[in-house]
């Protein structure tokens, strides 16, 4: 049943946390809309925030595909993100110490290939072993990648970082000149505070479309994968790897696939970041990114794709909200404030909802198989959260 056909019924069908999240999201969107209309929030900055939210959503999707699906503990989210960012930056930027000047699509492919190779390098020796080996090795990997980027100046420009990165759409027909050709607009919603939409707005709009495409495709792929027999094997591994082995599953291969898939998604987030920020530096590989991704996944509900999306948005809200608070209301240094808030959120979630806000709720069976069988969907209270088929996840 779709929300459009029967909004009341669809709403009644949601679980309590789902309604709660829906309510908060609507309120938050109204708040943002108000801020936009009154001019308190610049439209270009708003779009930048949306881009950032998309980026964090991608990072959370990636980690969710590893930890949420399969139970793989990856502490090098920042490294794969950095590989994506540097990979595309070094291929496309004017100031690149190596190749440079390539079409951003080439950068995208190169970044993903490097991330793939790195994932294999770390996965091959560790994924046959107990889960903790990957955790330790990935912790080391993150630091190695960061130090290489910082010190190998011939390759990465070192601490100076990479500048002069083009937009992702450079060299594309129409889109590469789209921001310049669009007329500047001046909207007056509230007299006295006009909203101006200029070149940078159109550029940001393109970026948002880009990240929505990345995140949308990723979400679609992950959702289908999660509901499939493939995803079921991953969930079995997460729950009890020996059982999966006894039933004839090549768990090493499945873990590798899950690890690579997640790493590629993280690198994709990095590629987007490069063309959003137009500058990358070694600071972008700081472990805080890994930390944020973990918080987002745990907060949203491990194993849930929409939970990861939700978690990613919460992270950006906290990250940028503290900055905003600092500018406007309270002169508190945003960095410690941010950590404090995240700490409070984690403690609250762990205490009151350890499975996360939006855990995967519905039974995950390939949807058309359940529909074909016409299985009656009359779950009693005990299985309320397990009902079959075409759910959100």
């Amino acid at each position: 049943m779709s929300f459009l056909d029967d909004p009341k019924g669809a709403f009644a069908d949601l679980t309590r946390p789902e309604r709660w999240v829906l309510g908060v999201s609507v309120a938050f969107m109204l708040f943002l809309l108000g801020a936009l209309l009154t001019g308190a929030l610049g439209p270009t900055y708003f779009l930048f925030l949306v881009g950032l939210a998309g980026m964090y959503a991608l990072l959370s999707f990636g980690l969710n595909a590893q930890w949420g699906f399969t139970g793989l503990i990856n502490f090098s989210v920042a490294a794969f993100f950095g590989i994506g960012a540097y990979g595309s930056a070094l291929m496309t930027a004017e100031s690149s110490p190596i190749a440079g000047g390539f079409n951003p699509l080439v950068g995208l492919v190169v970044a993903l290939v490097v991330a793939l190779v790195l994932a294999l390098l770390i996965g091959i020796p560790t994924l046959r072993l107990r889960a903790d080996y990957l955790a330790i090795a990935s912790l080391g990997l993150a630091e190695v990648v960061r130090l290489v980027v910082l010190n190998e100046r011939w390759l990465t420009n070192g601490s100076a970082g990479v500048r002069g990165i083009p937009s992702f759409f450079q060299g594309w027909p129409v889109l590469s000149t789209f921001p310049e050709t669009m007329p500047g607009l001046r909207l007056v919603v509230i007299p006295g505070s006009p909203i101006i939409l200029g070149t940078s707005f159109w550029q940001s709009l393109l970026n948002v479309l880009l990240v929505l495409t990345f995140a949308g495709v990723t979400f679609f792929v992950l959702r289908r994968a999660h509901q499939s027999p493939w995803g079921r094997v991953l969930r079995t591994i997460r729950s009890d790897e020996d059982l999966a082995r006894a039933l004839g599953k090549n768990t090493y291969s499945f873990k590798m696939q899950s690890f690579i898939l997640g790493s590629l998604i993280m690198a994709l987030a990095g590629v987007f970041y490069t063309h959003l920020n137009l500058y990358v530096g070694p600071g972008d590989l700081d472990p805080i990114t890994t930390f944020y991704a973990w918080v987002a996944v745990i907060l949203g509900g491990s194993g849930s794709n929409r939970g990861a999306l939700f978690g990613g948005i919460v992270i950006v809200t906290i990250r940028e909200g503290t900055r905003f608070l600092n500018d406007v209301a309270l002169p508190i240094d945003p960095a410690p404030m941010r950590l404090l808030l995240i700490g409070v959120v984690i403690v609250a979630v762990m205490r009151y909802r350890p499975q996360g806000i939006l855990p995967p709720q519905r039974e995950l069976i390939w949807p058309s198989a359940v529909d074909d069988r016409g299985t009656p969907e009359t779950p009693d209270s005990g299985v309320r959260e397990q009902k079959g088929g075409g759910g959100d996840e």
């Binding site: 493939w230 969930r235 006894a246 039933l247 696939q257 898939l261 299985v383 397990q386």
Partner: protein, 262 residues
Amino acid sequence: MSEGALPKEDAVLRVDDLQKSFGGLAATDHATFAVERGTITGLIGPNGAGKSTLFNLISGFYEPDGGTVEVNGTDVTGMEPYEVAEHGLIRTFQTPRKLEGMTVREAMLVGPRNQPGESFIKLFATPGSVSESESANLADAERILEDFEIDHLATQPATDISGGQMKLVELARAMLAEPEVLLLDEPVAGVNPTLAKKLKEQIRRLNEQGTTFLLIEHDMEFVMDLADPIVVLDQGHVLTEGTPEGVRNDDRVIDAYLGGGT
């Protein structure tokens, strides 16, 4: 020596001189026996005799120190568990394995081997074949649950059912993997008598339909009633093998049990 005394013409599983030590302890000590196709073979022995270790060696979970394992005439020694499974041998565990966050029928669907939907590529390249096999597997799962008279549990969370029901689900799921030989490690341990009877009937029925069983069981009544022949393991080696009566009346077997494996 009475080891492997019975002639086995068509052995689906052959264990030859298998050895495994943990530190100084020889958990499996030159064990040799075979399982004839079509039988329900029992594997008994006092606590700590090495029965579970033997299962782990056969199914590829442990690497033997010496000896060989043959499934369907293929040497599977040293292979990964999934490769052993590909040769037709499936095993269950002594302690039931719970699958968190899955419903019973979902947990059942892990059973079938080589599902097209287990290939990431096929999910996107040929979703039609994935749907087809998923529908067929779901139908199979529900049919087996009906056969086992637990179809009312199908949409229950797999973690919410009783230990006995869990054992039934495990057996049902293992059957979905279509094994030629199924190794059951204490299938009725901790199961109430009613469910145990049901399990016994199911094992017998499945055996009549062609599945070979090798089962470890502590409940003597259960194993004596169900299995023939019975292999007796003591301190890692095969003490004897014979019919239930033969084993029951064998002094060495009585000694082994009374001696408590010392």
